[in-house]
């Protein structure tokens, strides 16, 4: 099949439709607007529903209702809107409902701006809402990868009965790249025997996160923790780009990783052993990727579009037995390859403080 040119935000929409998602609830916010625009057109064509809510607070609760009724459902937003959804996300986890939440990250805190950023990493990976919970966070770095990951996002949500977040940024959402959509596959959505759809002759079903008796809530939390442990064991994903023999390993995701790849290429041309680990899952963080590197790499340099959030996970993953440096741009500014290259040079020359 021929490649077509697609915007990242539109690719999320098409990827969702191809993954069998037929319900989208959203509220306008920049820089993810092309996604609701796309689905407002596309959903009616496939017998689905696009509904614009009155707020992100309402949106995530519509998702809760639709997911509980057995639908493949998603919503999308950016920083401030995702903040408003946090209570609802906590309820979705508590009630064990599958859904996909897209965050096309922008600069914060507060109103910040509408330019691309990665500063919602903590919120995404630490559970911005209340209570003991986790969710898988996928971080694509190209439009093609967005298409490919959307199917996985819905499947993982179903497998664990837990929300999955797709974390992109304004650059990924806005840029156009050629993509291969592939054949439209018949989507098999797993049965949902737990859904509350009206009893229709069967047992009563309840969608709920309330366990008023402490003994019961503790049991519920322990059961959820077992799911999260399984995710940590089974779902770590990353791309290893020339990291195996690298003296210095860059660590970056999404748009920042694209910049870092260019830096790796330049270093390799110059004979410098530099590589990249690109986490595809921000949670579970790909700790497994770092274990073999502790024997080979002398330094790690984390590059983020924030003041340094993922760097904490890199320090944990390397157990701090190698120096972990940080380089970041924020507020909607992008790391420039030349500057990252300069930071790499400094570390290799032994001149960079940790």
């Amino acid at each position: 099949m021929a490649k077509i040119l697609m915007k990242g935000n539109e690719a999320i929409g098409e990827g969702a439709v191809r993954a069998g998602c037929r319900y989208f609830f959203g509220y306008p916010i920049t820089p993810q607007s092309e996604l609701p625009h796309y689905l407002a057109k596309r959903m009616p064509q496939v017998g689905g529903v696009y509904l614009q809510a009155e707020s992100e607070v309402a949106t995530i609760n519509m998702v809760y209702g639709a997911a509980g009724a057995g639908a493949r459902v998603m919503t999308s937003s950016s920083g401030p809107g995702i903040s408003l959804m946090q209570e609802g996300i906590s309820y979705v986890v508590g009630a064990e409902l599958p859904c996909v939440i897209v965050n096309m990250m922008r600069g914060g805190p507060g109103l910040g701006n509408i330019a691309p950023a990665q500063s919602d990493y903590f919120q995404a990976t630490r559970g911005g809402g209340h209570g003991d919970y986790r969710m898988i966070v996928l971080a694509p770095a190209s439009v093609q990868e967005i298409i490919d990951l959307m199917q996985d996002a819905f499947d993982l949500a179903d497998r664990y009965r837990n929300p999955v977040m797709l974390a992109g940024d304004g650059v990924l959402g806005q840029m156009m790249e050629p993509v291969e959509l592939g054949e439209e596959k018949e989507v098999r959505i797993p049965p949902r025997p737990w859904a509350a759809t009206g009893r229709t002759g069967g047992e009563k079903h309840l969608i709920n996160s309330l366990y008023i008796v402490p003994e019961d809530l503790e049991k519920h939390n322990i059961r959820l923790a077992a799911k999260f442990a399984a995710m940590e064991k089974e779902e770590q994903r990353w791309e290893d780009y020339l990291a195996a023999d690298a003296e210095l390993v860059l660590v970056a995701f999404g748009t920042a990783a694209r910049v870092c790849k260019a830096v790796v290429d330049r270093c390799r041309r110059e004979g410098k052993a530099v590589g990249l680990i690109r986490p595809l899952t921000l949670w579970p963080f790909p700790v497994k990727a770092f274990q073999p590197l502790l024997a080979t790499a002398a330094h790690f340099l984390t590059v983020e579009m924030s003041m340094g959030q993922m760097v904490e996970d890199v320090r944990l993953a390397t157990r701090e037995c190698r120096p972990v440096y940080f380089y970041g741009r924020c507020g909607g500014m992008l790391p420039v390859a030349g500057d990252v290259y300069a930071a790499v040079q400094k570390i290799l020359a032994g001149g960079e403080a940790k």
């Binding site: 309402a58 209570e87 009206g198």
Partner: protein
Amino acid sequence: MMQKVFTRPRTLKDVPTHYCPGCTHGIVHRLVAEAIDELNVFDRTIGVAPVGCSVFAYNYFDCDMYEASHGRAPAVATGIKRVLPDRVVFTYQGDGDLAAIGTGEVVHAAARGEKITVIFINNAIYAMTGGQMAPTTLIGQKTTTTPYGRDRELNGSPVKICEMLGVLDGAAYIARVSVHNPANVVKAKKAIKRAFEVQMAGHGFTLVEVLSACPTNWGLAPDEALRWLADNMVPYYPLGEYKAPEEI
């Protein structure tokens, strides 16, 4: 041969409730359950009960149920109904839930004409959390957060939901009823059943506000509470249909 002339509705479970003595939640639960039984939709009804005294409504209604976050039941019901348009969906919300934290959700569910039925319990107080002022608390009414009585200057005036929602085009049936005496209980039942019928006919959003008693947090005996409701709430919150489709 004895004939059984009165029994528990199918839609209600045979369990004791946690409600206080003299609380009217039990009456309203029964009216909703009777309406569902009489319309023969028990098997395809889905209820949503958010945070409040009735958060455990799922223990009493035997149909499929959702517990929802505070104020968001109309959004949850929207998600359900959009996925399952042939089901009957109702929410059961208190006044703090619907008329304060959840105002946005109920207004926009009504504006969109969501084909759901909202049962709105107005007892002029936050009961579960210990008797604080609700948006519906009357001027002068003492609560734990208005110990000198609700002051118009400080707290503003009570919110009249039926009057507000009645002006929206998406609202198909809006009524206010009371359960302070048997005659009004009968009227309340009629309104609740009618709301479900209007939902099922696909006319749009439906809501029944039920003026209810909270003896515990009002600090009154159950019979005094019912008199207080009739004497104080009914004059401020006039009973009747605020909107109804002609053909039903």
